[in-house]
Assembly symmetry: C2
Homo-oligomer: 655 residues x 2
Amino acid sequence: MGNVDYVYPPANVEASPRVAIPPQQPFITTIKNSLKETFFPDDPLRQFKNQPASRKLVLGLQYVFPIFEWGPRYTLDFLKSDLISGITIASLAIPQGISYAKLANLPPILGLYSSFIPPLVYAMMGSSRDLAVGTVAVASLLTASMLGAEVNATENPTLYLHLAFTATFFAGVFQALLGLFRLGFIVDFLSHATIIGFMAGAATVVCLQQLKGILGLDHFTTGTDMVSVMRSVFSQTHKWRWESGVLGCCFIFFLLITRYFSQKKPKFFWISAMAPLTLVILGSVLVYLTHAEKHGVQVIGELKKGLNPMSFGDLVFVSPYLSTAFKTGIITAIIALAEGIAVGRSFSMFKNYHIDGNKEMIAFGMMNIAGSCTSCYLTTGPFSRSAVNYNAGCKTAVSNIVMAIAVMFTLLFLTPLFHYTPLVVLSAIIIAAMLGLIKYEEAIHLWKVDKFDFVVCMSAYFGVVFGSVVIGLVLALALSVMRVLLFVARPKTFMLGNVPDSMAYRSVEQYTNASNIPGILILEIDAPIYFANSNYLRERIARWIDEEEDRVKASGESSLQYVILNMAAVGNIDTSGISMLDEVKKIIDRRGLKLVLANPGSEVMKKMNKSDLIEKIGQEWIHLTVGEAVGACKFMLHTTKSDPVKEEPGTWNNV
Amino acid sequence: MGNVDYVYPPANVEASPRVAIPPQQPFITTIKNSLKETFFPDDPLRQFKNQPASRKLVLGLQYVFPIFEWGPRYTLDFLKSDLISGITIASLAIPQGISYAKLANLPPILGLYSSFIPPLVYAMMGSSRDLAVGTVAVASLLTASMLGAEVNATENPTLYLHLAFTATFFAGVFQALLGLFRLGFIVDFLSHATIIGFMAGAATVVCLQQLKGILGLDHFTTGTDMVSVMRSVFSQTHKWRWESGVLGCCFIFFLLITRYFSQKKPKFFWISAMAPLTLVILGSVLVYLTHAEKHGVQVIGELKKGLNPMSFGDLVFVSPYLSTAFKTGIITAIIALAEGIAVGRSFSMFKNYHIDGNKEMIAFGMMNIAGSCTSCYLTTGPFSRSAVNYNAGCKTAVSNIVMAIAVMFTLLFLTPLFHYTPLVVLSAIIIAAMLGLIKYEEAIHLWKVDKFDFVVCMSAYFGVVFGSVVIGLVLALALSVMRVLLFVARPKTFMLGNVPDSMAYRSVEQYTNASNIPGILILEIDAPIYFANSNYLRERIARWIDEEEDRVKASGESSLQYVILNMAAVGNIDTSGISMLDEVKKIIDRRGLKLVLANPGSEVMKKMNKSDLIEKIGQEWIHLTVGEAVGACKFMLHTTKSDPVKEEPGTWNNV
């Protein structure tokens, strides 16, 4: 600035408070705080503070096993409600379990096993009152497609079964570890848009798979993508069975009608809940009476009587397929967690109680570890079953216990009844359930509110439908993460103007009536200043100044003299960002302008202080608000205008 | 809120301006703008606007070949300066080129070839006036370690050479494409901290590799990590040659002394620039006179006379090693770009001219494509050589042309002179150059200003030194990206208070004297609200309210009634974020409190509007500033206190 001597500070500006440098904290405290916010944002240990040791023990027990917390307060009224809802969900769980086990290419009986042990574990450890535990279609499909890519379930059923148990074991361990190490936020990276697209895609794929059952085909592709399924279906049109097809369509129609009715009149929730079991009974009786199984209608066949056999010895840890089982476990674990946690959270919102995501993960993990040792495969909290549970008026996790007992009875005494159940019924049950997962109106909402979310959703959908489940998931995840990175790499910068009748300075884009101040350019940076954006920001700020100078020159206003950077939205800054500010300061100086900062946050002040940038910019050029910065600049403009030095214009532009 | 009937709006608040919903823009405009900001932040086509076609052609030519822009303005004075600096850097380029080619396990003559063609290409296409083109140690080392892992340079020199050309070709194509598609910002993801750590690590590794030359060892490990190098060195202590070691140490000492002297007195820059060539001449004369090459002192040996042979036919595109060449090309390309662009940018900052990163990438790409066809390997703008160029007073890229001509003369007439140059001289030159890359004082600065950047820097360093160059790079990159993701996944939330003598509301953590307002909790969210943080934010806000209610209860202040969310720093929001706000609104309602928003930005208002959240919250509860929101709340507190309904406290807490 050479010979321009500022008369500073003017009396009226000095009165306003200074921007504070936050009090220095020891390094260890900073680390501790940031770790705490990262891993313990919900502060789960708060209730343990200032309690005697015995109380701590009780609280700890209640923390790990919430049943000890609500158990003592359990009443007869609760039991009545839980009995009704438990029996309702059992009637849904039995046919669904069998169907999904078929979908996973596993013995149908596994679906019943999986509705017995895991719900009992969850009832003790879970904190949701509405979640009904069971297998889910998407995880079943994933198991089939990922394990099936390595081992053929028909040719090598024992190995396939053992790998499925092993995958379930890994899934359980992974889930429990995520919860234990408080890494639950990893699930948050599956955004709402991703899940909608992914679920709809998976539902589409599952429905397509059911064409096998509906059309009564013997041979079918092992691929899950639309192209191979369609090729497989239309290459054997001569083998289609119209009887099976007609039956299937009628069944689906029946299920959809009952669901529509139940949705219209929530009091009759049990109609849609009972419908699958009704169909199973109807179908089985029909087949038994007409001996249709001898005329090509495929039936479930023999189901072994008896409770879950132990399967701990079946887990294979030394196998060429170990990595397949591991990968399957991890991916199904994440998908299952995403669904289970979202379901638990939604219902807890309705009933206004709190769910600890990390604790839920431990519960899910333990239930899957226990399941893998007792002939179950991956379970979680499916939405459909939990919604029925909620509608049936469940009060606590006891409804899961009731369901488990009902399934136990089925396993002990009723399995022979399923011998004649036609497969087409199972296919119809799956399709009807899946159609509810395709939420096109949600996709329309995404399009309306946020185009990028819509793109993420669609990429997940088409990735799953035309590629594979994993491709869809990775695609959507990559896009979502890219969005976050792009937000930081290309932060928005705004020009601010004074909102009329107000002291506030806001984006002239948003407030079209905001007016700019002659001689002063006010910019706002809308993201943390990090390595990823420091080069961009430097160039962008330079361009703002260029454009403003061009505009001023064209309009003949008084020339630009101050650049105010509003740092209110700059949440953090790193060393690249500090260098950037330093360079911006130099660029602005070289143009004969003056850099003024407004409202830097605590992180920014801390780091500017440590790197001596505050001195370079000058403490007196850092203001609490944009308004104050503008006031100070206006004062200076006024002073320098009457300053004789200003009469040589060269001093401003040639320095 | 049931029966509490708000008398709203109060007259004094109504007067203040409303938060604006930004004017609706057509979807296509939004897309266009955001693409423009992402890929054309520097608006490179601005100068073409409103120009006649012939002028556009000239401008276009000047854009692609900046030499047409500055060429016509070239003066004799410039030539004088460029001659001096060109000859100076040639004297550095010749020994360095030979040394680095040896480091890459390539024939030494390639180092000279690479200082001939690429500088000529850069002189025409590059926009930096100070960059001196040449090979660099780190990229040479990378080539050796990545290609060497697949093909042994000693056993199969031809294949190795051809793969090196192919890798250079891929690197050039990749660099040019990055520039062409305006993806230069990818390089920005290599943060300053990453580069410091990475460069220091690579320098350490390169120095360790030179122990072979210094100690005169014949056999040496192909690994680059410290453990294998140390094992290799100390397993053959009996083969160490003390003569060579002593000579090497003297040479290094000489080079360091001259550099130290030149740094102290920048006028004598040429002393340090000439030192390597002096050493080469001295060493060669010494060996020639004493016939030391017959007594075990390794020398360069025969160097072919003549200019670069064409190597276009040597590029191998059908080979089992193609993927290795491709990978090597991509990684060396990124590293080379990072160094070259950073160097170009730094010097343009000093001299106050503009460099277009994307254009530079195209220039680098073209120079490497041309190089790969004329027996050169990867070149970029090394810092050491460019600094010498700058200090020697270069004016334009003509200094590169001068250097190229000097190297051409060397190739045509002087190569036999290098026959007796001892390898230990080359090792000394490399070590002396590398020691300058270990910037420990920068690492200390990182530690002081930003601990996380220090961790990133150290992980890059140790990753390179104990793992490999790629491991170090990936580690640092992953940590840097994780930091960005973590910033978004765990945004800061602050409690705000009124700064004394001001209308401003700021974090009570930063402004320890800021005071809170009884009955009102003011929170600020410091990041965009995305899927990755919406769950966290919901829980965190709930915890803030819990803590505030506990505090209020303990202190006996008037009970909490309003929660103001300051959205000033929320730069963007997605559909998950909108749902989160909706849920927060419900949570707050259920506690009998009222949610008030202050200063939502344009993106937030746009999406809240589209999703009807504005109606749910109520337009009258969205204010322009925190101050106005507080004013409105205070007014309501005052009104409801005298309201008879408020005398039943139950209505507030039991709804």
